[in-house]
């Protein structure tokens, strides 16, 4: 009791997290993962931790939760205090009352069989009474909108549900600090947005301090009070979100959000932290100057179809036209045995991909995207329907590490065919490297070479190259590399089909988007049309501008500069409501 009371007092008075001059090196690591890090989080702050892959974000979170050094070992200097408790003197168990930690992979952070038992476990370990435990479980389940899951077995939950359960288990002890490591990386746009706003609500209503590491900054920047950016184990920036965007513009463009990039390209200031912020700024610009009058010059003006808006549109209108069929799925039905309740995961899917086409397959968690790809690759037998792949398929599943079993890259891909596959992915120089020493992006390219090996005729690729969620945990720079690789594959004649939740990535590479919902292909249209016409499956630029077929910052910049405006375009009612102008009538133009 005494310990708990002290913690409660400490939590009220001390900073939520105080890190002082911490340098940490993992056991056997040549370089430190954290270098002289000093950081202070005040109670009630929501802080976003940004930075490229392997910059030290996860290590910082582990140190704040007590896992480093108590669980992972290694050498540490400096001091860490969580709500007044010395994290270097206390282990993660003792810190469990004041800090909650949610890791990236929800699969490995549940240890019980049922949801209720999982949420109850920390309280039980602490020795709380059954009545108090029952009440705390009920309250946290209500707060996270998961009371209906309490009786479920954890292995029947979707990724999004599992992530919420892990969050509930972290929150049930009412910690003063919650640490989250890329919690949205496996979630679809809907579940990702819900989680971020849930965190904001917990922060506002419960006063919980939140430290959130994320790569998809556009998703959470608007909800953050402060941003801390890391580079090479050190803190490179610590300030307000708007200042962070200015810093990123000058120092690391890979950390810019799409809306901020749109504004930078147009020279508009201040840079926006989110969609609402951007629209307000644009509305003000419109009132003060000619910007919106260019956008809304007359009632009924319309953008010329394919009017030169950026890379994506020009690609779809480009010289390379689809030549022959790479994939044909007709009326594909797949049923999955789920104990007593078998269900249809795919329900009559029709899909056609041509050689040289780049297609994004999108949809919510559990919509059937992976099942469709697995059916194409012959890993799942359809209950009904037909799949035709005239020139074969190479499927790269979600975890590239599953493909890497050799000690040497050359051992994975022997012979001339192996060398040819390595050349296609640009890894011919790494034949003697250990696959575990490759960077994340290189490992993914190696895995792709492994599935391509021997399926190429000479240098010609298989008819269809399919990638399942290839951007999980990737930073923007690595996504750009992947986009180039996809373009190269398509240019060499392969149809490329990518299942992804990442709308910005889809906007960067795809010509067409197929949207799956409950096992049915709801939409199959050009990417610019699909990604500009909705709330969730729309890019940030599309949500800011709400213009048809404008989805990337470059397209948005062209639209705002007015260079591509010719003819007429339709102004949407929502935008008119935001600006408060009668733009539909064109009175201000």
């Amino acid at each position: 009791m005494q310990f708990g009371t002290d913690l409660a007092k400490g939590a009220r008075t001390a900073p939520a997290l105080a890190i002082e001059g911490v340098t940490y090196r993992y056991p056997g690591a040549p370089a430190p993962a954290l270098c002289d890090v000093t950081l202070r989080l005040e109670p009630g702050e929501l802080v976003l931790l940004a930075g490229r892959s392997a910059c030290g974000k996860s290590t910082l979170l582990r140190a704040s939760s007590g896992l480093v050094p108590h669980f992972h070992g290694g050498e540490i200097e400096g001091g860490i205090a969580v709500a007044g408790v010395d994290a270097l003197a206390s282990g993660p168990g003792e810190l469990a009352s004041v800090v909650g930690y949610v890791a990236q992979d929800p699969e490995t952070q549940v240890v019980s069989t049922t949801v209720a038992a999982e949420i109850e476990l920390p309280l039980e370990m602490r020795g709380d009474a059954p009545a108090a435990r029952a009440r705390a479980v009920e309250e946290v389940a209500l707060a996270l909108a998961i009371p209906h899951l309490l009786g479920r077995a954890v292995d029947t939950l979707s990724g999004g549900e599992l992530q919420r359960v892990a969050l509930a288990a972290a929150l049930v002890t009412r910690p003063s600090l919650v640490l989250l490591d890329e919690p949205t990386s496996q979630l679809d746009p809907v579940a990702g947005d819900e989680l971020i706003w849930l965190l904001r609500r917990l922060n506002e209503e419960w006063g919980v301090t939140i430290l959130l590491a994320e790569h998809r900054l556009e998703r959470c920047l608007a909800a953050a009070d402060r941003v801390v950016a890391m580079a090479s184990g050190s803190i490179a920036f610590d300030g307000r979100p708007r200042d962070f965007l200015v810093w990123a513009q000058g120092v690391d463009a890979a950390l810019e959000t799409p809306a901020a990039r749109l504004f930078s390209l147009c020279g508009i200031e201040p840079l926006p932290t989110g969609v609402r912020d951007a629209r307000r700024t644009l509305a003000r610009e419109g009132e003060a100057g000619p910007l919106l009058t260019q956008l809304f010059p007359k009632e009924g003006r319309r953008l010329t179809p394919g009017g030169g808006f950026g890379k994506s549109t020009s690609r779809s209108e480009g010289a390379r036209l689809p030549s022959h069929e790479a994939l044909m799925c007709r009326d594909v039905w797949v049923a999955v045995e789920a104990g007593e309740n078998p269900r249809d995961v795919l329900r009559g899917v029709d899909l056609m991909v041509h050689s040289g086409e780049r297609v994004a397959l999108m949809g919510r968690n559990g919509a059937g995207k992976s099942t469709l790809l697995r059916t194409m690759a012959g890993l799942v037998q359809p209950a009904r329907g037909k799949v035709r792949l005239p020139n074969g398929i190479a499927l790269l599943s979600q975890n590239p590490g599953d493909y890497l079993v050799g000690e040497r890259v050359g051992d994975e891909l022997p012979g001339e065919a192996g060398e040819a596959a390595l050349r296609v992915v640009g890894l011919e120089h790494a034949v003697d490297a250990d696959p575990r020493d490759l960077s994340g992006g290189e490992r993914q390219r190696l895995a792709l070479a492994i599935v391509l090996a021997g399926r190429m005729q000479g240098e010609a690729l298989p008819g269809l190259v399919a990638l399942d969620e290839p951007t999980r945990g990737m930073d923007r720079a690595r996504k750009d590399e992947l986009t180039h690789l996809i373009e190269a594959l398509a240019d060499r004649g392969a149809g490329v089909l990518v299942a992804t939740h990442d709308v910005e990535f889809a906007a960067a590479f795809a010509e067409r988007v197929v949207l799956l919902g409950e096992g049915v292909a709801i939409t199959d249209d050009p990417a610019a049309e699909v990604l500009s016409g909705g709330w969730y499956f729309a890019t940030e630029v599309a949500r800011v501008l709400d213009l048809p077929d404008v989805i990337t910052p470059e397209q948005g910049a062209e639209a705002l500069s007015g260079e591509s405006l010719s003819g007429e375009f339709v102004v949407r009612d929502t935008y008119v409501a935001q600006t408060g102008k009668s733009a539909r009538k064109g009175e201000d133009g």
Partner: protein, 323 residues
């Protein structure tokens, strides 16, 4: 895909009962399976377990256990008839074969069938236990008694399904490799799975640390030192005391039936209810003791039957009072 033996939360009596009560009930039936050789008794025990499993909603587990039990029983019968040459009733003469019996007898066939039946009964008991008893509650009950063992059991119970999922993924990845990529043998796959499992184990152990598993379990302390005397008779589950185990209103039912089955089994054994001999000729006892025990055992399968919800007042109340 989930294992048919995986625990599924339900609100039935067997799932609601405390682990000790469920173990007492299912364990008593399994014990009878071990004690007896009389096929009538074994068949009745098997029928009780099938009935109990179906009433508890563990249809998949029962079906899988029956299938596995039948396969195992056939295997045992096949091996037994080929290696045992005892028995008076020769069915087939095989001639001189190394290591094998030169005859197949009806008695060896019956003896194999009884062993197979016993194995199927034990398998059924395990299947119903696995599908209906919450492993979390079992581990929780074990934790104060054997902390390290409970931690190991927790890790294993969590990692087994995760490792199975990892193995399925690795097999798929091996199938998706291009024809010119180096083939992945079973040894390489097993090595990779082991390495992955170790990583997984580290992750799960880290989560357990974060949940406070390393803290000492609450120890029982003298109630009088923490609370005034007038509260000492109340149920006090504050920190520092061992919380009382959660009980179910069905516990008594399972304890009583379990004890009854066990007592009847032992008594039946003493009274000759297990009358059965395989060799030299099959002799099956069907005396009153055997039949009475078999009937009792079969009826014990009804123990997990859910009571019907009472529908009393609703018909006598005015319409406006109905909920």
């Amino acid at each position: 895909m989930r294992s048919p033996f995986a625990y599924r939360p339900r609100s039935g009596p067997l799932q609601s009962a405390s682990p000790a009560a469920a173990v007492a009930y299912l364990g008593s039936l399994a014990t009878v399976g071990f004690l007896y050789s009389n096929p009538i008794v074994l068949a009745a025990t098997g029928a009780a377990l099938v009935l109990a499993g179906l009433l508890a909603g563990a249809r998949d587990a029962v079906r899988a256990a029956l299938w596995m039990g039948l396969t195992l029983a056939l295997l045992i019968v096949a091996v037994n008839v080929l290696v045992v040459d005892r028995g008076a009733t020769v069915l087939v003469r095989l001639g001189q074969l190394p290591l094998l019996s030169d005859v197949i007898t009806a008695e060896a066939l019956a003896a194999g069938a009884v062993i197979g039946l016993r194995a199927a009964v034990v398998l059924l008991a395990f299947a119903v236990y696995s599908a209906c008893v919450d492993p979390d509650r079992v581990l929780r009950a074990l934790r104060p008694l054997a902390r390290r063992s409970a931690l190991t059991a927790t890790l294993v119970s969590r990692l087994v399904p995760v490792a199975a999922a990892d193995a399925a993924r690795l097999r798929d990845a091996a199938r998706l490799r291009g024809p010119a990529a180096a083939p992945v043998g079973r040894a390489a796959l097993a090595r990779r799975l082991l390495a992955g499992s170790l990583d997984r184990a580290v992750d799960v152990a880290a989560t357990l640390e974060l949940r406070g598993y390393s803290l000492n379990p609450p120890r029982p302390t003298p109630v009088a030192t923490l609370f005034p005397p007038y509260t000492s008779k109340k149920r006090c589950d504050r920190r520092g005391e061992r919380p009382r185990a959660r009980r179910s209103r069905y516990d008594r039912r399972f304890y009583v039936v379990g004890a009854l089955v066990l007592i009847a089994g032992v008594a039946g054994k003493l009274l000759g209810a297990d009358a059965f001999a395989e060799y030299p000729a099959v002799q099956l006892g069907v005396g009153p003791a055997t039949l009475a025990l078999a009937t009792l055992l079969a009826l014990s399968g009804l123990t997990p039957l859910s009571p019907r919800p009472r529908r009393t007042a609703s018909t006598s109340l005015p319409a406006g009072w109905r909920s």
